[in-house]
Symmetry: C2
Subunit: 759 residues, 2 copies
């Protein structure tokens, strides 16, 4: 018995020792320059805490005046910046809108400064210059030297606790600043309320409530110092309504209760040369009690290196789910950094005791699932959730359970559109939760009540006041004069409706199937044969005049123009191609897309991407085109998919800070990279088919949760040999342009025979 | 068995049938004019909901400009006003500072108006004129005709649920307005955040978070209509930071999710002539889920009359605890209205499932006690809590349990000073929780951990950063140049310290006794023999120059002047009298106090009272003098206590809206009335003695919780026969000027032989 126990205890260690050290291929700095909007800091896979440096949160003109640009700082960090304002605990990865940045910590020495100062004059505030020479980022670890103070800052994290380690010089004036005014998307007093209690000389608790992208959001914290502070204080920049008898106290110094809209607190220490001050900073969506419990449960010690190592073990475990051999180190780094970025979101959103705050602002218990938040669904339904259905099926099922809980708590009775932190922010269009659910149901990865899930999809899709749906249901399209981005919405609703129909068919709900398969054909109503594009219609049934296929303004599209969006019928490319004049004409159309030049005036209208993020008029940096290169598979020239995919992989992903041509969008761009590198892609999530592209890897082994492995093998693979001569699935010639989910999940091997020439 | 069960079931009904109908003697309108600050609306004893009309919440000049006076509307209602703005759910009774006024409901007809309008031009808004002829107030019931709309408004309540009944005329434009901007002490955007969900066509939930007198306060609600509304909408007067994709919706109409700082919502109905629309409105300190549970648990039906009857049964039960026979109907009404006012606060502060929000903003469970809030302790330690120790001992013990929970949750490790709704507002001075606790401990009514309670008292009394305590502990007094109201504070701390010493002695904590009995003599340090008054000292040990015995400004007193505060040594009147030159001189001093004229300039400085609220320079409307008339008992002329008491009872309490000369102060003024009417008063809570006054009642029977009765009997009682010839306790001549708590609680009879002449 004892022997057996020992064997069991040794098993995980042994299992781990089998794993490769893959975190060395991950560079969290990729995407931190320009439009990638990733953050370089420390987190664990799908962790609640993202502890990362802020170089600023809003951008300023040279004269220090706010220039209106909060977009640049969606992740709080821009690689080109020269100063760091501090380290905060919550960050989105790769989003196109901003929020979070909760609880900024900054260590300083010398005279206390309680304002951040400006980038041009860092000495005017607590911020510090830094250089990338003194910066190092790894999964679950980040370090940087703060030049102004000669402080080495190191960060790591467990799921719900950020762990700071600051190595100070000798100083009688060492400070830790807790800035509750700081935040991302903070230009207009986003704070609704903040509250801090200094429980004792090493423990602080409190919360921050904001009205930002999330309308009603509260995050609670518990913060523990490794050594007692000497004294502390605060500055309250807000004007509390009632002051009255609070005047009894000098609240600015050593007064343990702080509250207001705009607070900055500081804690003073005396340090010896090289002395480390450590901070454990736990979050909770529920209460300070929850945060404190998270803190004590997850990190009951002060061993920074152990937390870092534990976090890196977790990362290696996740990264080892695909064992890839690339053609170059650059591609190896691209691949594992994409894996890393794909495993950042959605994030855990419940306490260690399984409690979380729901959309109804009540506290709920996630009894049988892990509750997640940060659902950037317009992006992630395309490839990230399909990727999870292969490589993170348990987590994907729990994400859907989280979406169903959201639905239950929604006063609109709607599944999430773009939700974070117990809030719906309604960002972008469609109701793509239904795609995520259908994809899981159709692929048999549905550890939830499928009929209830289908009902949730139906109710969502029938909400008459949601974003033009009433017109869509009445007219079969959304009239641009009633609701903008009408073409994009009509097309995406049609696809989503097809997803519902697929589920209904599988679950033998004939009436629902009939209703939604009919709705799924609504794309037909916005196709204008005279221009050959999907085009915006008015409520009187006429086409909106002044059509411009290159413009995105007022034309009925969002994050795309007619060229891109007209290709959006993922559930029926054949019919779309037929509409557009047949295969031959369609190939020419696609060729033009990739080769034309988008004039500057129209590029300027394109959101979220850099010039590098486009190829011709193909905008890879925005999602609506993510399936486009695969559409050649529905023509007689599928080899054009193959060279386009390899080109996009090369051009749009580089292992450098500016290596992402557009927002990573919570892992969608990375999931595209992973799929496409492996040689297949889910053109229509909700179907069980993956369209064949052209693998970029030399080989890859997918270690599936069901214990099986699926191997991607290539022959004659080089950078130039982008064309597929033949494919064998488990040694048998594959006579189709897709593989199925079952092909993968049953385990086995796919072998691509590559060549420099197309057949 | 069945027979027995039947008998048990019948018992409470039988018991009730024994009770008198005493609510007919209660007039909730008493104190609603001028300074009384009571509210006329519906509530149950110690109920969480106080559903009452607002006539305004801040006062304006004739030109409609805010005149800075929020004080007038501490209870939201002023009897002289001609208009009602609506009915809100939370009100303090008799306080000298304002807050609450949550969730104002107003029924209207005709074109929708979403602003309240002004008192001068009620037609400019939703408010309505009304007249007192059409108004009726009773315990647990209030009704008024809203003239402008011809709507009869009726209110009743259970503990946590307000029940509205509005009888409408026939109208196609009937509205119920839910004004989340309205509130008491609301002049400067007290709202921090509000949140509303329209769950279905009869149910609304949400919360309101404010930064008022309570710095961080949130109240949750669930609101249920007796019939579905036709449509609804809102106006959001706040400027939410992020609007973005919320623009997808017309949020002003039939959109079920509202959030912002400043919202007003409305619900539209069509009504027939005489149709009643009823609203159940439940509160919770914890969550909307808690509010909904309260709503469903407490009132699972729509029978308004039953809720009213249930509430009035509760009131009769409480009022019947003293069966009094007065000399006149006026006095009978004064007495039972005083009982009513004494049983309004502290208020229940936990959900039906025993959860409540604590001072640490976490949710706690009150497992073994009822959690209360609204502790106006500077007022209520004097007579209200001592009164509860006799007539509400179980509730008083639970109030102390609530105070101990507050202590546990306090980051300052302090017992409450003035606390409400999970907040400490620090109003007034002293740490009189210790008096309340000591009084309960000394009187043997301590259903809590007494040693823990003593520790809480000690820790509170040693907090160095609290209100001059550091100086007090160092110097034995508070220097006026360091901390204002220094004499009042020194005197009150000294008394509080004596309370701690009493407990310590009883619990055999000798070291604590020694420490605090010494501190209790600190009143000696502020007695100035040269003026014969307690006087403010500076930190160098000299008296502060410019002494003025009549002024309250800068002299070291609060809500009193030297004449009043110099008499504040409740724990040792004999020593105080000796200091002040002995008994003869002291009598002259007291006589002067009651007979002198306070010049207008000094009256103007007196807070919280009307001219009627003073007698000479004796300020009954403020609490520091409440024990003063009893001090003759420590001289050779105790009969002067007797005529003063009877005079004060007559002059300061009248059964009219303007019948209270000062704030009722959460029942303290009323408790003084009750004690004094019965013939005795607790001069020093924490002692077990009650000083004899002069009974005003003809007779009274106190029905004690221990099953015993204590009878107060008078002989030759008339309005003129104010002097006591002799007293018999259980038939034996009483040879002391006090009775003990044991005398009362053992049951029995005290007989006062009255006369028109003093002995």
């Amino acid at each position: 018995m004892r022997r057996l126990l020992l064997a069991i205890l040794l098993l995980p260690v042994f299992a781990f020792s089998q794993q490769k050290d893959l975190i060395k291929y991950v560079n969290p700095l990729i995407g931190t320059q320009r439009m990638g909007h990733t953050y370089p800091g420390a987190t664990v896979p799908f962790g609640m805490v993202q502890l990362s440096p802020e170089t600023d949160t809003i951008s300023y003109e040279k004269n220090g005046k706010y220039n209106g640009d909060v977009y640049k700082y969606c992740a709080g960090y821009q690689y080109d910046d020269k100063t760091i304002t501090g380290f905060s605990h919550t960050h989105f990865s790769g989003t196109g809108h901003a929020d979070l940045g909760d609880f900024l910590i900054m260590p300083t020495t010398g005279p206390l400064q309680l304002n951040p100062g400006t980038a041009d004059h860092p000495e005017s505030g607590y911020r510090s210059t830094f250089s990338h020479q003194n910066e190092f980022a790894q999964p679950a670890y980040y370090k940087v030297k703060l030049d102004e103070y000669n402080i080495l800052a190191e960060l790591t994290a467990s799921n719900r606790v950020g762990f700071h380690q600051y190595t100070f010089p000798k100083s009688d004036q060492a400070h830790i600043i807790l800035d509750l005014m700081a935040g991302i998307y903070n230009y207009d007093n986003k704070n609704v309320w903040t509250f801090v209690r200094v429980e004792n000389d090493t423990l602080i608790t409190g919360f921050r409530q904001t009205n930002g992208w999330a309308r009603t959001r509260t995050v609670y914290f518990a913060m523990s110092f490794s050594k007692p502070f000497v004294q502390y204080g605060q500055q309250n920049f807000s004007n509390n309504v009632y002051k009255g008898f609070w005047r009894k106290f000098d609240q600015t110094k050593n007064f343990p209760e702080m509250a207001g809209k705009q607070l900055r607190a500081y804690f003073d220490f005396k340090t010896e040369e090289g002395e480390k001050i450590k901070i454990k900073f736990a979050l909770s969506p529920v209460s300070t009690e929850g945060a404190l419990h998270n803190l004590r449960t997850e990190i009951p010690h002060w061993d920074f290196d152990k937390v870092k190592e534990d976090g890196q073990v977790l990362w290696n475990k996740e990264l080892n789910k695909i064992d890839v051999e690339s053609l170059s180190m650059d591609e190896q780094i691209n691949f594992y950094t994409a894996m890393y970025h794909a495993f950042l979101s959605p994030t855990t959103y419940m306490d260690a005791d399984r409690k979380y705050k729901g959309l109804d602002q009540n506290v709920h218990l996630a009894e049988n699932f892990t509750n997640y938040t940060t659902f950037s669904l317009w992006d992630t339904y395309r490839a990230l959730h399909p990727f999870f259905n292969i490589i993170q099926p348990k987590r994907n099922s729990d994400m859907i359970n989280s979406m169903l809980a959201h639905y239950d708590q929604s006063v609109h009775k709607m599944l999430p559109v773009w939700s974070h932190y117990a809030n719906e922010n309604w960002c972008m269009i469609g109701y793509h939760s239904v795609s995520v659910i259908a994809d899981a149901v159709m692929k048999g990865n549905a550890d939830f009540d499928v009929n209830k899930a289908l009902d949730a999809c139906i109710t969502t899709a029938r909400n008459r006041y949601y974003d033009g749906l009433e017109y869509y249901m009445q007219l079969g399209y959304i009239p641009e004069d009633k609701n903008s981005s009408s073409v994009s919405k009509t097309l995406e609703y049609a696809y989503d409706d097809w997803c519902i129909a697929q589920m209904a068919q599988k679950l033998n709900r004939k009436d629902i199937y009939d209703e939604f398969i009919k709705r799924s054909e609504n794309y037909l109503n916005v196709y204008d044969a005279s221009t050959g594009f999907m085009r915006s219609k008015l409520s009187d049934g006429t086409w909106k005049p002044g059509f411009d296929a290159l413009s995105t303004h007022g034309q009925g599209y969002i994050e795309g123009n007619a060229w891109n969006y007209s290709l959006y019928v993922p559930h029926n490319p054949s019919k779309m191609i037929e509409l557009m004049g047949g295969k031959t004409r369609f190939v020419k159309h696609l060729d033009s897309l990739f080769s034309m030049h988008l004039p500057d005036e129209f590029f300027a209208e394109t959101e979220d991407i850099t010039r590098d993020g486009i190829i011709g008029n193909y905008v890879h940096g925005n999602e609506p085109a993510h399936h486009v290169a695969y559409l050649y598979n529905w023509t007689n020239e599928p080899w054009k998919t193959q060279d386009k995919i390899r080109m996009i992989l090369k051009k749009q992903y580089r292992p450098t800070p500016d290596g992402l041509g557009g927002n990573d969008d919570c892992g969608q761009m990375s999931a595209w990279y992973i799929f496409s590198s492996l040689g297949f892609y889910p053109v229509a999530p909700g179907s069980t088919e993956y369209s064949i592209g052209s693998p970029a890897v030399k080989s890859a082994v997918l270690h599936l949760e069901n214990g099986k492995t699926f191997k991607v093998e290539t022959k004659n693979q080089t950078d130039k040999n982008v064309y597929i001569q033949k494919i064998e699935l488990n040694g048998t010639l594959l006579n189709r342009r897709f593989i199925t989910h079952k092909d993968i999940m049953d385990g086995g091997k796919i072998t691509f025979y590559m060549s420099a020439k197309h057949p």
